[in-house]
Amino acid sequence: MKQIWVIARRELASTFDSPIAYIAATVFLVATGLMFFFGIDGGQDFFEARQATLRPLFDSAPWVLAVILPAVTMRLVAEEKKTGTLELLVTLPVSDIKIIIGKLLGSMGFLVVALVLTMVFPAVVMSVGSPDVGAIIGGYIGLFLIGTTFLALGLMTSTWTHNQIVAFILGLLLCVFFWTATDALIKLAFDRPPVALRLLTFKTQFAAFAKGVVDIRNVVYFLTVTAVAVAASTYSLKSRNWR
Protein backbone atom coordinates (compact mmCIF):
# COMPACT_ATOMS: atom_id res chain seq x y z
CA MET A 1 0.00 0.00 0.00
CA LYS A 2 2.75 2.38 0.92
CA GLN A 3 4.35 1.99 -2.46
CA ILE A 4 1.10 2.95 -4.17
CA TRP A 5 1.04 6.14 -2.17
CA VAL A 6 4.68 6.85 -2.89
CA ILE A 7 4.04 6.47 -6.62
CA ALA A 8 0.84 8.49 -6.43
CA ARG A 9 2.59 11.28 -4.58
CA ARG A 10 5.43 11.38 -7.05
CA GLU A 11 3.05 11.35 -10.01
CA LEU A 12 1.01 14.17 -8.57
CA ALA A 13 4.11 16.24 -7.89
CA SER A 14 5.41 15.42 -11.34
CA THR A 15 2.07 16.33 -12.91
CA PHE A 16 2.27 19.75 -11.37
CA ASP A 17 5.90 20.07 -12.38
CA SER A 18 4.85 20.00 -16.00
CA PRO A 19 3.13 22.92 -17.69
CA ILE A 20 0.58 20.57 -19.21
CA ALA A 21 -1.18 20.29 -15.87
CA TYR A 22 -1.57 24.05 -15.66
CA ILE A 23 -2.67 24.36 -19.24
CA ALA A 24 -5.16 21.53 -18.87
CA ALA A 25 -6.57 22.85 -15.61
CA THR A 26 -6.82 26.35 -17.04
CA VAL A 27 -8.60 25.08 -20.14
CA PHE A 28 -10.95 23.15 -17.91
CA LEU A 29 -11.75 26.07 -15.66
CA VAL A 30 -12.13 28.60 -18.44
CA ALA A 31 -14.18 26.31 -20.65
CA THR A 32 -16.55 25.22 -17.90
CA GLY A 33 -16.69 28.79 -16.68
CA LEU A 34 -17.68 30.09 -20.10
CA MET A 35 -20.24 27.37 -20.55
CA PHE A 36 -21.64 27.88 -17.10
CA PHE A 37 -21.79 31.65 -16.99
CA PHE A 38 -22.31 32.47 -20.63
CA GLY A 39 -23.86 29.28 -21.89
CA ILE A 40 -21.65 29.33 -24.94
CA ASP A 41 -22.33 25.66 -25.58
CA GLY A 42 -25.90 26.54 -26.44
CA GLY A 43 -27.05 26.74 -22.87
CA GLN A 44 -28.37 29.82 -21.19
CA ASP A 45 -26.44 32.62 -19.63
CA PHE A 46 -26.40 31.98 -15.91
CA PHE A 47 -27.42 35.48 -14.96
CA GLU A 48 -30.19 35.48 -17.52
CA ALA A 49 -31.50 32.05 -16.62
CA ARG A 50 -31.48 33.32 -13.04
CA GLN A 51 -31.64 29.86 -11.57
CA ALA A 52 -29.54 28.90 -8.57
CA THR A 53 -28.50 25.57 -9.96
CA LEU A 54 -25.27 23.98 -11.08
CA ARG A 55 -26.91 21.68 -13.58
CA PRO A 56 -25.32 23.53 -16.53
CA LEU A 57 -21.91 22.90 -15.00
CA PHE A 58 -22.60 19.22 -14.58
CA ASP A 59 -23.88 19.04 -18.12
CA SER A 60 -20.82 20.62 -19.66
CA ALA A 61 -17.97 19.57 -17.38
CA PRO A 62 -17.77 15.89 -18.47
CA TRP A 63 -17.21 17.06 -22.02
CA VAL A 64 -14.29 19.17 -21.01
CA LEU A 65 -12.94 16.47 -18.74
CA ALA A 66 -13.05 14.00 -21.62
CA VAL A 67 -10.76 16.35 -23.52
CA ILE A 68 -8.30 17.48 -20.87
CA LEU A 69 -7.83 14.39 -18.75
CA PRO A 70 -6.17 12.37 -21.54
CA ALA A 71 -3.70 15.25 -21.80
CA VAL A 72 -2.85 14.73 -18.16
CA THR A 73 -2.60 10.96 -18.35
CA MET A 74 -0.78 10.76 -21.67
CA ARG A 75 2.63 11.04 -20.05
CA LEU A 76 2.03 8.63 -17.21
CA VAL A 77 3.54 5.57 -18.84
CA ALA A 78 4.38 6.68 -22.36
CA GLU A 79 6.93 9.19 -21.12
CA GLU A 80 8.59 6.67 -18.83
CA LYS A 81 8.76 4.25 -21.70
CA LYS A 82 10.35 6.82 -23.94
CA THR A 83 12.96 8.07 -21.47
CA GLY A 84 13.66 4.64 -20.05
CA THR A 85 12.75 5.45 -16.47
CA LEU A 86 10.17 2.71 -16.69
CA GLU A 87 13.00 0.18 -16.48
CA LEU A 88 14.03 1.45 -13.08
CA LEU A 89 10.47 1.69 -11.91
CA VAL A 90 9.46 -1.83 -12.78
CA THR A 91 12.67 -3.30 -11.39
CA LEU A 92 11.87 -1.84 -8.01
CA PRO A 93 10.24 -4.39 -5.74
CA VAL A 94 6.72 -3.35 -6.69
CA SER A 95 4.11 -5.22 -8.68
CA ASP A 96 2.85 -3.84 -11.95
CA ILE A 97 -0.69 -3.37 -10.75
CA LYS A 98 0.53 -1.24 -7.86
CA ILE A 99 2.37 0.94 -10.32
CA ILE A 100 -0.78 1.39 -12.37
CA ILE A 101 -2.96 2.08 -9.36
CA GLY A 102 -0.39 4.48 -7.98
CA LYS A 103 -0.28 6.38 -11.22
CA LEU A 104 -4.04 6.46 -11.43
CA LEU A 105 -4.27 7.79 -7.90
CA GLY A 106 -1.67 10.41 -8.69
CA SER A 107 -3.61 11.65 -11.68
CA MET A 108 -6.78 11.59 -9.58
CA GLY A 109 -4.99 14.12 -7.44
CA PHE A 110 -5.02 16.42 -10.44
CA LEU A 111 -8.71 15.74 -10.97
CA VAL A 112 -9.43 16.63 -7.37
CA VAL A 113 -7.47 19.85 -7.65
CA ALA A 114 -9.31 20.77 -10.84
CA LEU A 115 -12.68 20.00 -9.28
CA VAL A 116 -11.86 21.85 -6.09
CA LEU A 117 -10.98 24.91 -8.16
CA THR A 118 -14.37 24.76 -9.88
CA MET A 119 -15.97 25.13 -6.49
CA VAL A 120 -15.66 28.81 -7.16
CA PHE A 121 -18.84 28.30 -9.22
CA PRO A 122 -21.00 26.89 -6.44
CA ALA A 123 -19.58 29.56 -4.19
CA VAL A 124 -20.76 32.23 -6.61
CA VAL A 125 -24.13 30.55 -7.00
CA MET A 126 -24.54 30.31 -3.25
CA SER A 127 -23.72 33.96 -2.86
CA VAL A 128 -26.60 34.97 -5.11
CA GLY A 129 -29.14 32.25 -4.45
CA SER A 130 -29.82 29.12 -2.50
CA PRO A 131 -29.01 26.10 -4.65
CA ASP A 132 -29.72 22.57 -3.53
CA VAL A 133 -26.48 21.68 -1.81
CA GLY A 134 -27.26 17.99 -1.90
CA ALA A 135 -27.66 18.09 -5.64
CA ILE A 136 -24.32 19.85 -5.96
CA ILE A 137 -22.62 17.21 -3.85
CA GLY A 138 -24.18 14.51 -6.00
CA GLY A 139 -22.97 16.24 -9.14
CA TYR A 140 -19.45 16.48 -7.82
CA ILE A 141 -19.43 12.83 -6.84
CA GLY A 142 -20.48 12.08 -10.40
CA LEU A 143 -17.79 14.31 -11.87
CA PHE A 144 -15.21 12.65 -9.68
CA LEU A 145 -16.29 9.18 -10.77
CA ILE A 146 -16.57 9.95 -14.46
CA GLY A 147 -13.26 11.82 -14.28
CA THR A 148 -11.60 8.84 -12.64
CA THR A 149 -12.91 6.64 -15.38
CA PHE A 150 -11.58 9.01 -18.04
CA LEU A 151 -8.23 8.98 -16.26
CA ALA A 152 -8.15 5.19 -16.23
CA LEU A 153 -8.91 5.10 -19.93
CA GLY A 154 -6.22 7.69 -20.60
CA LEU A 155 -3.78 5.74 -18.47
CA MET A 156 -4.57 2.65 -20.48
CA THR A 157 -3.81 4.32 -23.79
CA SER A 158 -0.63 5.68 -22.26
CA THR A 159 0.58 2.13 -21.65
CA TRP A 160 0.04 1.24 -25.27
CA THR A 161 2.68 3.49 -26.76
CA HIS A 162 5.81 5.44 -26.00
CA ASN A 163 4.51 8.41 -27.93
CA GLN A 164 2.61 10.83 -25.72
CA ILE A 165 0.76 12.44 -28.60
CA VAL A 166 -0.49 9.08 -29.75
CA ALA A 167 -1.51 8.25 -26.21
CA PHE A 168 -3.36 11.57 -25.94
CA ILE A 169 -5.25 11.17 -29.19
CA LEU A 170 -6.23 7.60 -28.44
CA GLY A 171 -7.30 8.58 -24.94
CA LEU A 172 -9.31 11.49 -26.23
CA LEU A 173 -11.06 9.35 -28.80
CA LEU A 174 -11.83 6.70 -26.24
CA CYS A 175 -13.18 9.16 -23.67
CA VAL A 176 -15.32 11.06 -26.13
CA PHE A 177 -16.47 7.80 -27.58
CA PHE A 178 -17.63 6.50 -24.24
CA TRP A 179 -19.06 9.84 -23.19
CA THR A 180 -21.43 10.19 -26.06
CA ALA A 181 -20.45 8.61 -29.34
CA THR A 182 -21.52 5.13 -28.37
CA ASP A 183 -25.03 6.45 -28.76
CA ALA A 184 -24.51 7.42 -32.35
CA LEU A 185 -22.62 4.26 -33.20
CA ILE A 186 -25.19 2.02 -31.62
CA LYS A 187 -27.87 3.81 -33.57
CA LEU A 188 -25.93 3.14 -36.75
CA ALA A 189 -25.56 -0.49 -35.89
CA PHE A 190 -29.03 -1.27 -34.63
CA ASP A 191 -32.50 -0.32 -35.64
CA ARG A 192 -33.60 -0.80 -32.08
CA PRO A 193 -30.63 -0.68 -29.85
CA PRO A 194 -30.85 -3.05 -26.90
CA VAL A 195 -31.10 -1.21 -23.61
CA ALA A 196 -27.98 -2.93 -22.33
CA LEU A 197 -25.93 -1.26 -25.04
CA ARG A 198 -27.43 2.14 -24.43
CA LEU A 199 -26.36 1.83 -20.84
CA LEU A 200 -22.75 1.73 -21.99
CA THR A 201 -22.78 5.44 -22.68
CA PHE A 202 -21.25 7.46 -19.89
CA LYS A 203 -23.78 10.20 -20.50
CA THR A 204 -26.62 7.89 -19.58
CA GLN A 205 -24.77 6.72 -16.52
CA PHE A 206 -23.91 10.25 -15.49
CA ALA A 207 -27.38 11.74 -15.79
CA ALA A 208 -28.56 10.76 -12.32
CA PHE A 209 -25.56 12.34 -10.60
CA ALA A 210 -26.29 15.65 -12.25
CA LYS A 211 -29.72 15.52 -10.64
CA GLY A 212 -28.27 14.81 -7.23
CA VAL A 213 -29.01 11.12 -7.11
CA VAL A 214 -26.19 8.72 -6.39
CA ASP A 215 -27.43 5.48 -7.83
CA ILE A 216 -25.39 2.46 -6.86
CA ARG A 217 -25.71 1.15 -10.42
CA ASN A 218 -24.04 4.21 -11.87
CA VAL A 219 -21.33 4.13 -9.24
CA VAL A 220 -20.68 0.46 -9.88
CA TYR A 221 -20.62 1.06 -13.60
CA PHE A 222 -17.93 3.72 -13.44
CA LEU A 223 -15.93 1.75 -10.89
CA THR A 224 -16.01 -1.39 -12.99
CA VAL A 225 -15.03 0.43 -16.15
CA THR A 226 -12.16 1.92 -14.19
CA ALA A 227 -11.23 -1.51 -12.88
CA VAL A 228 -11.24 -2.97 -16.37
CA ALA A 229 -9.08 -0.13 -17.64
CA VAL A 230 -6.67 -0.68 -14.75
CA ALA A 231 -6.54 -4.39 -15.49
CA ALA A 232 -5.95 -3.71 -19.18
CA SER A 233 -3.22 -1.21 -18.32
CA THR A 234 -1.55 -3.74 -16.07
CA TYR A 235 -1.78 -6.32 -18.81
CA SER A 236 -0.24 -3.90 -21.23
CA LEU A 237 2.55 -3.04 -18.79
CA LYS A 238 3.24 -6.72 -18.22
CA SER A 239 3.40 -7.35 -21.93
CA ARG A 240 7.08 -6.32 -21.92
CA ASN A 241 7.62 -9.82 -20.62
CA TRP A 242 6.45 -11.55 -23.74
CA ARG A 243 7.15 -9.12 -26.46
Binding site: K2, Q3, V6, I7, R10, S14, D17, S18, T83, G84, T85, E87, L88, V90, T91, L92, P93, V94, S95, R240, N241, W242, R243
Partner: protein, 319 residues
Protein backbone atom coordinates in the same frame (compact mmCIF):
# COMPACT_ATOMS: atom_id res chain seq x y z
CA UNK B 1 28.04 -24.48 -5.41
CA UNK B 2 27.26 -23.60 -1.91
CA UNK B 3 28.04 -19.93 -1.96
CA UNK B 4 26.52 -19.08 -5.31
CA UNK B 5 24.25 -16.04 -4.88
CA UNK B 6 22.92 -16.26 -8.38
CA UNK B 7 22.45 -19.38 -10.43
CA UNK B 8 21.57 -19.05 -14.06
CA UNK B 9 20.57 -22.16 -15.96
CA UNK B 10 19.83 -22.55 -19.66
CA UNK B 11 18.57 -19.05 -20.01
CA UNK B 12 16.87 -18.55 -23.36
CA UNK B 13 15.36 -15.31 -24.52
CA UNK B 14 13.67 -15.03 -27.85
CA UNK B 15 12.30 -11.81 -29.15
CA UNK B 16 9.91 -11.88 -32.04
CA UNK B 17 12.57 -12.23 -34.67
CA UNK B 18 15.84 -12.51 -32.80
CA UNK B 19 17.11 -14.95 -30.27
CA UNK B 20 18.99 -12.89 -27.73
CA UNK B 21 20.08 -15.70 -25.44
CA UNK B 22 20.46 -19.25 -26.58
CA UNK B 23 20.91 -21.02 -23.27
CA UNK B 24 23.29 -19.32 -20.94
CA UNK B 25 24.24 -20.83 -17.61
CA UNK B 26 26.60 -19.50 -14.97
CA UNK B 27 26.79 -18.84 -11.26
CA UNK B 28 27.79 -15.78 -9.35
CA UNK B 29 29.46 -16.29 -6.04
CA UNK B 30 28.95 -14.35 -2.87
CA UNK B 31 31.11 -11.23 -2.74
CA UNK B 32 32.54 -11.51 -6.20
CA UNK B 33 32.72 -8.83 -8.85
CA UNK B 34 31.67 -10.47 -12.05
CA UNK B 35 32.36 -8.81 -15.35
CA UNK B 36 29.90 -9.63 -18.07
CA UNK B 37 31.77 -9.14 -21.27
CA UNK B 38 30.71 -9.17 -24.85
CA UNK B 39 30.37 -7.08 -27.93
CA UNK B 40 27.33 -4.85 -28.37
CA UNK B 41 24.23 -6.92 -28.89
CA UNK B 42 25.76 -10.07 -27.47
CA UNK B 43 23.09 -10.47 -24.82
CA UNK B 44 24.70 -8.86 -21.79
CA UNK B 45 21.91 -6.38 -21.26
CA UNK B 46 19.26 -8.97 -21.92
CA UNK B 47 20.78 -11.17 -19.22
CA UNK B 48 20.80 -8.30 -16.78
CA UNK B 49 17.27 -7.27 -17.65
CA UNK B 50 16.14 -10.77 -16.93
CA UNK B 51 18.06 -10.83 -13.66
CA UNK B 52 16.35 -7.62 -12.55
CA UNK B 53 12.93 -8.89 -13.69
CA UNK B 54 12.51 -6.09 -16.16
CA UNK B 55 11.73 -8.72 -18.75
CA UNK B 56 11.17 -12.40 -18.43
CA UNK B 57 13.06 -15.20 -20.07
CA UNK B 58 11.55 -17.43 -22.68
CA UNK B 59 12.77 -20.40 -20.75
CA UNK B 60 15.41 -21.36 -18.28
CA UNK B 61 15.77 -20.78 -14.61
CA UNK B 62 17.37 -18.24 -12.37
CA UNK B 63 17.67 -18.36 -8.63
CA UNK B 64 18.69 -15.32 -6.69
CA UNK B 65 19.75 -15.91 -3.14
CA UNK B 66 18.00 -19.25 -3.30
CA UNK B 67 14.73 -17.87 -4.64
CA UNK B 68 13.23 -18.66 -8.01
CA UNK B 69 13.40 -15.36 -9.84
CA UNK B 70 10.28 -15.96 -11.90
CA UNK B 71 8.19 -17.15 -9.03
CA UNK B 72 9.30 -14.45 -6.62
CA UNK B 73 10.04 -11.40 -8.72
CA UNK B 74 9.28 -8.92 -5.98
CA UNK B 75 11.45 -10.60 -3.32
CA UNK B 76 14.38 -11.02 -5.65
CA UNK B 77 14.14 -7.42 -6.83
CA UNK B 78 14.40 -6.32 -3.23
CA UNK B 79 17.80 -8.03 -2.99
CA UNK B 80 19.14 -6.37 -6.11
CA UNK B 81 20.36 -2.89 -6.81
CA UNK B 82 20.27 -2.07 -10.50
CA UNK B 83 21.87 0.61 -12.59
CA UNK B 84 20.39 0.29 -16.04
CA UNK B 85 22.36 1.10 -19.13
CA UNK B 86 20.40 4.21 -19.93
CA UNK B 87 20.53 5.60 -16.40
CA UNK B 88 17.22 7.30 -17.09
CA UNK B 89 16.10 9.37 -14.12
CA UNK B 90 13.14 11.66 -13.62
CA UNK B 91 14.64 14.91 -14.85
CA UNK B 92 12.35 17.24 -12.93
CA UNK B 93 13.13 15.76 -9.54
CA UNK B 94 15.75 17.04 -7.17
CA UNK B 95 18.42 14.42 -6.47
CA UNK B 96 17.58 14.25 -2.81
CA UNK B 97 13.88 13.79 -3.46
CA UNK B 98 14.58 11.20 -6.08
CA UNK B 99 16.65 9.16 -3.68
CA UNK B 100 14.01 9.51 -1.00
CA UNK B 101 11.46 8.29 -3.52
CA UNK B 102 13.57 5.24 -4.35
CA UNK B 103 14.12 4.53 -0.69
CA UNK B 104 10.46 4.80 0.11
CA UNK B 105 9.63 2.54 -2.79
CA UNK B 106 11.91 0.03 -1.16
CA UNK B 107 10.02 0.31 2.04
CA UNK B 108 12.07 2.67 4.14
CA UNK B 109 10.60 5.40 6.19
CA UNK B 110 11.41 8.92 5.20
CA UNK B 111 13.78 9.40 8.12
CA UNK B 112 15.57 6.21 7.26
CA UNK B 113 15.89 7.38 3.70
CA UNK B 114 17.45 10.61 4.88
CA UNK B 115 19.95 8.71 7.00
CA UNK B 116 20.89 6.41 4.18
CA UNK B 117 21.29 9.28 1.74
CA UNK B 118 23.50 11.10 4.18
CA UNK B 119 25.73 8.07 4.51
CA UNK B 120 25.80 7.23 0.85
CA UNK B 121 26.17 10.68 -0.65
CA UNK B 122 29.74 11.02 0.43
CA UNK B 123 30.63 7.59 -0.85
CA UNK B 124 29.39 8.27 -4.34
CA UNK B 125 30.49 11.89 -4.33
CA UNK B 126 27.11 13.47 -4.66
CA UNK B 127 26.93 15.76 -1.67
CA UNK B 128 27.27 19.00 -3.58
CA UNK B 129 24.61 17.97 -6.11
CA UNK B 130 21.93 16.66 -3.77
CA UNK B 131 19.82 19.80 -3.99
CA UNK B 132 20.01 20.14 -7.74
CA UNK B 133 17.29 19.03 -10.13
CA UNK B 134 18.45 15.98 -12.01
CA UNK B 135 18.19 17.54 -15.45
CA UNK B 136 20.93 20.03 -14.54
CA UNK B 137 23.45 17.29 -13.76
CA UNK B 138 26.27 16.12 -16.02
CA UNK B 139 26.29 12.60 -17.31
CA UNK B 140 28.81 11.57 -14.66
CA UNK B 141 26.74 12.85 -11.81
CA UNK B 142 23.65 11.27 -13.23
CA UNK B 143 25.53 8.02 -13.25
CA UNK B 144 26.37 8.57 -9.60
CA UNK B 145 22.75 9.25 -8.80
CA UNK B 146 21.92 5.97 -10.53
CA UNK B 147 24.55 4.24 -8.48
CA UNK B 148 23.32 5.83 -5.28
CA UNK B 149 19.86 4.64 -6.09
CA UNK B 150 21.15 1.12 -6.69
CA UNK B 151 23.03 1.08 -3.41
CA UNK B 152 20.54 2.86 -1.23
CA UNK B 153 19.02 -0.27 0.22
CA UNK B 154 22.40 -1.89 0.68
CA UNK B 155 21.47 -4.77 -1.58
CA UNK B 156 23.13 -8.15 -1.56
CA UNK B 157 23.58 -7.95 -5.30
CA UNK B 158 24.44 -4.93 -7.40
CA UNK B 159 23.90 -5.10 -11.12
CA UNK B 160 25.52 -2.39 -13.20
CA UNK B 161 24.88 -2.21 -16.92
CA UNK B 162 27.73 -0.34 -18.64
CA UNK B 163 28.41 1.84 -15.62
CA UNK B 164 31.15 3.91 -17.25
CA UNK B 165 29.79 4.42 -20.72
CA UNK B 166 29.74 8.01 -21.77
CA UNK B 167 31.87 9.25 -18.92
CA UNK B 168 35.07 11.23 -19.26
CA UNK B 169 38.33 9.53 -18.23
CA UNK B 170 38.48 11.07 -14.78
CA UNK B 171 34.95 10.06 -14.06
CA UNK B 172 35.68 6.57 -15.29
CA UNK B 173 38.51 6.23 -12.87
CA UNK B 174 36.37 7.41 -10.00
CA UNK B 175 33.52 5.09 -10.84
CA UNK B 176 35.84 2.14 -11.21
CA UNK B 177 37.29 2.89 -7.84
CA UNK B 178 33.84 2.95 -6.45
CA UNK B 179 32.95 -0.38 -7.97
CA UNK B 180 36.03 -1.96 -6.53
CA UNK B 181 35.01 -0.76 -3.12
CA UNK B 182 31.55 -2.14 -3.62
CA UNK B 183 33.02 -5.57 -4.08
CA UNK B 184 33.99 -5.59 -0.44
CA UNK B 185 30.41 -5.84 0.79
CA UNK B 186 28.33 -6.71 -2.25
CA UNK B 187 28.14 -9.18 -4.99
CA UNK B 188 28.56 -7.12 -8.14
CA UNK B 189 27.70 -7.98 -11.70
CA UNK B 190 28.83 -5.45 -14.19
CA UNK B 191 28.59 -5.48 -17.91
CA UNK B 192 30.98 -3.67 -20.14
CA UNK B 193 32.71 -3.83 -23.42
CA UNK B 194 35.66 -1.89 -22.13
CA UNK B 195 38.33 -4.37 -21.30
CA UNK B 196 40.66 -2.41 -19.06
CA UNK B 197 37.70 -1.85 -16.82
CA UNK B 198 37.34 -5.53 -16.33
CA UNK B 199 40.98 -6.03 -15.65
CA UNK B 200 40.95 -3.29 -13.09
CA UNK B 201 37.77 -4.16 -11.33
CA UNK B 202 36.60 -7.69 -11.86
CA UNK B 203 37.37 -10.89 -10.05
CA UNK B 204 35.81 -13.04 -12.68
CA UNK B 205 34.70 -12.71 -16.25
CA UNK B 206 31.93 -14.25 -18.23
CA UNK B 207 32.09 -13.56 -21.92
CA UNK B 208 28.87 -13.72 -23.85
CA UNK B 209 28.83 -13.79 -27.56
CA UNK B 210 25.86 -14.11 -29.85
CA UNK B 211 23.67 -15.14 -26.98
CA UNK B 212 25.91 -17.84 -25.64
CA UNK B 213 28.52 -18.00 -22.94
CA UNK B 214 31.90 -18.46 -24.52
CA UNK B 215 34.26 -18.00 -21.62
CA UNK B 216 34.08 -18.00 -17.84
CA UNK B 217 36.86 -17.58 -15.33
CA UNK B 218 39.27 -15.22 -13.62
CA UNK B 219 41.47 -13.04 -15.77
CA UNK B 220 44.48 -15.14 -14.82
CA UNK B 221 42.72 -18.33 -15.75
CA UNK B 222 41.60 -16.98 -19.07
CA UNK B 223 45.00 -15.63 -19.88
CA UNK B 224 46.61 -18.83 -18.66
CA UNK B 225 44.46 -20.93 -20.83
CA UNK B 226 45.53 -19.15 -23.91
CA UNK B 227 49.17 -18.71 -23.04
CA UNK B 228 50.39 -22.08 -24.24
CA UNK B 229 51.45 -20.23 -27.34
CA UNK B 230 54.43 -17.94 -27.08
CA UNK B 231 54.86 -14.89 -29.16
CA UNK B 232 57.94 -12.74 -29.22
CA UNK B 233 58.70 -9.43 -30.75
CA UNK B 234 62.24 -9.19 -32.04
CA UNK B 235 63.90 -6.08 -33.38
CA UNK B 236 67.30 -6.45 -35.11
CA UNK B 237 69.51 -3.75 -36.55
CA UNK B 238 69.63 -4.02 -40.33
CA UNK B 239 70.75 -1.35 -42.72
CA UNK B 240 69.57 -2.86 -45.97
CA UNK B 241 66.22 -2.08 -47.45
CA UNK B 242 64.97 -5.61 -48.12
CA UNK B 243 62.78 -5.78 -45.05
CA UNK B 244 65.33 -8.12 -43.42
CA UNK B 245 64.16 -11.14 -45.30
CA UNK B 246 67.43 -13.01 -44.61
CA UNK B 247 67.01 -12.40 -40.94
CA UNK B 248 63.50 -13.77 -41.03
CA UNK B 249 64.63 -16.92 -42.67
CA UNK B 250 67.39 -17.40 -40.15
CA UNK B 251 65.02 -16.87 -37.27
CA UNK B 252 62.67 -19.41 -38.71
CA UNK B 253 65.42 -21.98 -38.55
CA UNK B 254 65.65 -21.80 -34.79
CA UNK B 255 64.30 -24.87 -33.08
CA UNK B 256 60.69 -24.72 -31.71
CA UNK B 257 59.90 -21.68 -33.82
CA UNK B 258 56.75 -22.22 -35.73
CA UNK B 259 56.46 -19.07 -37.71
CA UNK B 260 58.18 -15.77 -38.21
CA UNK B 261 56.53 -12.81 -39.81
CA UNK B 262 57.84 -9.38 -40.61
CA UNK B 263 56.10 -6.78 -38.62
CA UNK B 264 57.61 -3.51 -39.69
CA UNK B 265 60.79 -1.65 -40.33
CA UNK B 266 62.06 1.33 -38.38
CA UNK B 267 64.83 3.87 -38.86
CA UNK B 268 65.28 5.65 -35.61
CA UNK B 269 67.39 5.64 -33.57
CA UNK B 270 68.92 2.82 -35.52
CA UNK B 271 67.67 1.39 -38.72
CA UNK B 272 66.14 -1.97 -37.82
CA UNK B 273 63.51 -4.53 -38.71
CA UNK B 274 60.92 -5.94 -36.34
CA UNK B 275 59.65 -9.53 -36.56
CA UNK B 276 56.98 -11.43 -34.76
CA UNK B 277 58.01 -14.89 -33.73
CA UNK B 278 55.57 -17.62 -32.88
CA UNK B 279 57.16 -20.51 -31.04
CA UNK B 280 56.22 -23.59 -29.10
CA UNK B 281 58.16 -22.45 -26.10
CA UNK B 282 59.93 -19.39 -24.86
CA UNK B 283 62.82 -19.06 -27.29
CA UNK B 284 64.28 -15.77 -26.12
CA UNK B 285 67.53 -17.32 -24.98
CA UNK B 286 67.88 -19.18 -28.30
CA UNK B 287 67.38 -15.94 -30.18
CA UNK B 288 69.90 -14.17 -28.04
CA UNK B 289 72.35 -16.93 -28.74
CA UNK B 290 71.63 -16.76 -32.48
CA UNK B 291 72.19 -13.01 -32.51
CA UNK B 292 75.42 -13.25 -30.64
CA UNK B 293 76.59 -15.98 -32.98
CA UNK B 294 75.62 -14.11 -36.10
CA UNK B 295 76.78 -10.70 -34.97
CA UNK B 296 73.37 -9.14 -35.07
CA UNK B 297 72.49 -6.37 -32.71
CA UNK B 298 69.21 -6.95 -30.90
CA UNK B 299 67.39 -3.70 -30.51
CA UNK B 300 64.28 -5.19 -28.93
CA UNK B 301 63.35 -8.56 -27.57
CA UNK B 302 60.18 -8.98 -25.59
CA UNK B 303 57.50 -11.51 -25.00
CA UNK B 304 54.06 -10.58 -26.19
CA UNK B 305 51.48 -11.57 -23.54
CA UNK B 306 48.02 -12.58 -24.65
CA UNK B 307 46.07 -9.93 -22.79
CA UNK B 308 42.35 -9.67 -22.37
CA UNK B 309 41.88 -7.67 -25.49
CA UNK B 310 43.51 -10.37 -27.51
CA UNK B 311 41.62 -13.09 -25.81
CA UNK B 312 38.42 -11.21 -26.42
CA UNK B 313 39.31 -10.62 -30.02
CA UNK B 314 40.24 -14.21 -30.50
CA UNK B 315 37.13 -15.61 -28.96
CA UNK B 316 34.75 -13.30 -30.64
CA UNK B 317 36.32 -13.51 -34.05
CA UNK B 318 36.67 -17.25 -33.97
CA UNK B 319 32.99 -17.83 -33.64
Amino acid sequence: MANAVIQIRDLVKEYDTVTALTGVSFDVKQGEILGLLGPNGAGKSTTMKILTSFISATSGAVTVDGLDLFANPIETRARIGYLPESTALYPDMVVWDYLVYCGEMRGFSREECHDRIRKLAGRVGLIEKLKEPIHTLSKGYKQRVGLAQALLHNPKIVILDEPTSGLDPNQIVEIRQLIKELGKDHTVILSTHILPEVRQTCDRIVIIHKGAKVADGSIEQLEGNLNDTHELVVGIAWDKDDRGEPLRQELAQIASVRKVSHSHGAALPIKHQVFEVDAKKDVRSEIAKWAADGGHAIIELRRRTLDLETIFQRITSEA
